[in-house]
């Protein structure tokens, strides 16, 4: 019973804050709504017996990535940015149509798949040790590649932010 109440609470919060992300006039409020949305998803992970992933979600997304977003937004004078949405032309109509079709497609697929009716289980969660064992045996190559990505990305970002105009310098 408690988990049903918790699920509906977290689901409502996640969706409402998600709407907030898309609708907010001010990017700063978008970012703050996104933090709440991510915390809600982390709560759902705890509900799904994945406490490690939930804690990492808060640590990485809410604690690091979103702080970065908020910092950048605060450093930029946001009030200057012009129109909020794509203008009311044919493109917007087609985009809305595309979103509608895609939503219908996803819902149909989700509702028709056999996994949907599977009831919640009551077994214990995976320990961090079990996660680590799979991560460092089966997925070790992917893990190493990820390490390379995380090494290359900061170098790229530093280069990007230090660049003085580059080829487009007028």
């Amino acid at each position: 019973m408690t988990d049903i109440i918790l699920f509906y609470f977290l689901a409502t919060m996640t969706v409402l804050t998600g709407v907030g992300v898309v609708m907010s006039e001010n990017p700063l409020f978008s970012a703050l709504y996104l933090v709440l949305s991510m915390t809600g998803v982390a709560g759902l992970f705890f509900l799904l017996q994945a406490p490690f992933v939930g804690a990492v979600q808060i640590l990485v997304y809410a604690g690091a990535v979103m702080v970065l977003f908020v910092l950048v937004i605060m450093l930029i004078d946001i009030n200057k940015s012009g129109e909020k949405y794509i203008g009311g032309n044919a493109a917007a109509l087609f985009k809305g149509l595309a979103i509608g079709i895609f939503s219908g497609l996803v819902s149909a697929v989700v509702l028709r798949s056999p996994i949907v009716a599977k009831p919640a289980l009551s077994n214990g969660s995976y320990t961090v040790l079990e996660i680590a064992k799979v991560l460092f045996t089966k997925y070790v190559l992917a893990f190493e590649l990820l390490g390379i990505i995380l090494l290359v990305i900061p170098i790229g970002v530093v280069a990007l932010s230090r660049i003085k105009g580059g080829t487009h310098e007028r």
Binding site: T2, L28, L32, V35, F46, P51, F52, A55, V56, I58, L59, A62, G63, A64, V67, L68, V70, L71, M74, L75, S125, V128
Partner: protein, 376 residues
């Protein structure tokens, strides 16, 4: 939460009591801070109101309550009001998940119950504490942005940049501890630190009976790095650049007064308490007495009283031990604040990225080598 009404009730009361304990520590710490700073600077400090100036705390509380409510007219009202509340949450959430004493086992008519001496146990210990304390940056950012004051904003940006930089060094300095204890669970860590110092080195068992089996003897470098990083995380001197008076008035809480200011204080001291409790749990044996394990304490107590009472009294005694250790580290925080001067901002960033990060990585490598070579 618990399996029946009795357990659920006790657990909810427990969470409330631990939270109130954290909040109630703050006035005491403010008093220690003021008297301690006076002691260090060869002054008297507040000594007129009550014995040793202790009732000064009550006077302060009254002052905080009755200050004029002031809101900067150009501020974002929502953010301005949300920030002090947010400042309170991470410290409270983290403090609730740290075991403050051993679990209590009681037998009642309805069966045997075990109560952990902590708000809740999420099962991933350290990661959870790191996660919620990383949310602390938002309170500062919102306060800085919401009060619509350039000094506040500068202070907030400095504070959050500092927090994310030192979070890295803090996390890495804990990797050594994780490799050593091979667990995320605080309770298990404390159990491992029981007894006297003994370890395996190149297949030989070495035991030193005159030292307790504390993490500090395995991870001295890790402890220094962790302690330094927590000083930066809590924004205390020598890393209190966010509120450097000479440059930034009072940093992110320039525009706050009264109760809202008090909530920032509670947040800061809550962070300090979490940091001290973590240091004690990781490096100084948690709630265990050196040379006298909790089991033998409970056994000695159950000679003279029922096993239920022995468990409760033993847990309370060990809680006193834990709090004594925590208070020592809180005093170290205050001691350092009134002894060391402030860094310059570039020095702070250099220390974080160019000194502490490489040393933390070196600590990981060294620990990995010794853990791997323990059995030859």
């Amino acid at each position: 939460m618990g399996s029946d009404g009795f357990e659920i009730t006790i657990n909810i009361i427990k969470m409330l009591v631990i939270f109130l304990m954290m909040v109630q520590m703050v006035p005491v710490l403010v008093w220690v801070e003021r008297r301690g700073s006076a002691f260090i600077q060869n002054r008297f400090g507040p000594n007129r109101v009550g014995p040793l100036g202790l009732t000064q705390l009550l006077a302060d509380a009254v002052k905080f309550l009755f200050k004029e409510e002031f809101v900067p007219p150009a501020s974002h009202k929502w953010l301005y009001y949300a920030a002090p509340v947010l400042a309170l949450i991470p410290g409270a959430l983290a403090f609730e998940s740290i075991p403050l004493s051993m679990p209590i086992h009681v037998n009642t008519e309805s069966g045997a119950h075990t109560f952990l001496f902590q708000g809740y146990d999420v099962g991933v210990g350290i990661v959870f504490v790191l996660a919620v304390s990383s949310l602390g940056a938002y309170a500062l950012l919102l306060a800085g942005w919401g009060s619509h004051n350039k000094y506040s904003l500068f202070g907030a940006l400095r504070a959050s940049a500092q927090m994310i930089s030192y979070e890295l060094a803090m996390g890495l300095s804990l990797v050594g501890i994780l490799m050593l204890f091979q667990t995320f669970d605080f309770q298990r860590m404390v159990e491992i630190q029981r007894g006297t110092l003994h370890f395996w080195l190149f297949g030989k068992e070495i035991s030193l009976g005159f030292l307790p089996n504390w993490g500090i003897f395995f991870q001295p470098l890790g402890f220094v790095l962790f302690a330094t990083a927590t000083f930066a995380e809590t924004n205390r001197t020598p890393f209190d650049l966010p509120e450097a008076e000479a440059e930034l008035v009072a940093g992110y809480h320039t525009e706050y007064g009264g109760l809202k200011m008090l909530m920032f204080y509670i947040g800061e001291y809550g962070h300090m308490m979490v940091a001290s409790a973590l240091m004690v749990t990781f490096y100084f044996g948690g709630y265990e007495l050196p040379f006298y394990s909790s089991q033998s304490l409970v056994e000695a107590l159950s000679q003279s009283m029922s096993s239920n009472a022995a468990s409760i009294v033993g847990a309370l005694l060990l809680h006193v031990v834990f709090m004594a250790k925590v208070l020592f580290f809180l005093w170290v925080f205050i001691w350092v604040r009134w002894t060391l001067p402030r860094f310059r901002y570039d020095q702070l960033m250099d220390l974080g990225w160019k000194t502490m990060l490489p040393w933390a990585l070196a600590n990981v490598l060294i620990t990995a080598f010794f853990v791997l070579m323990a059995h030859g």
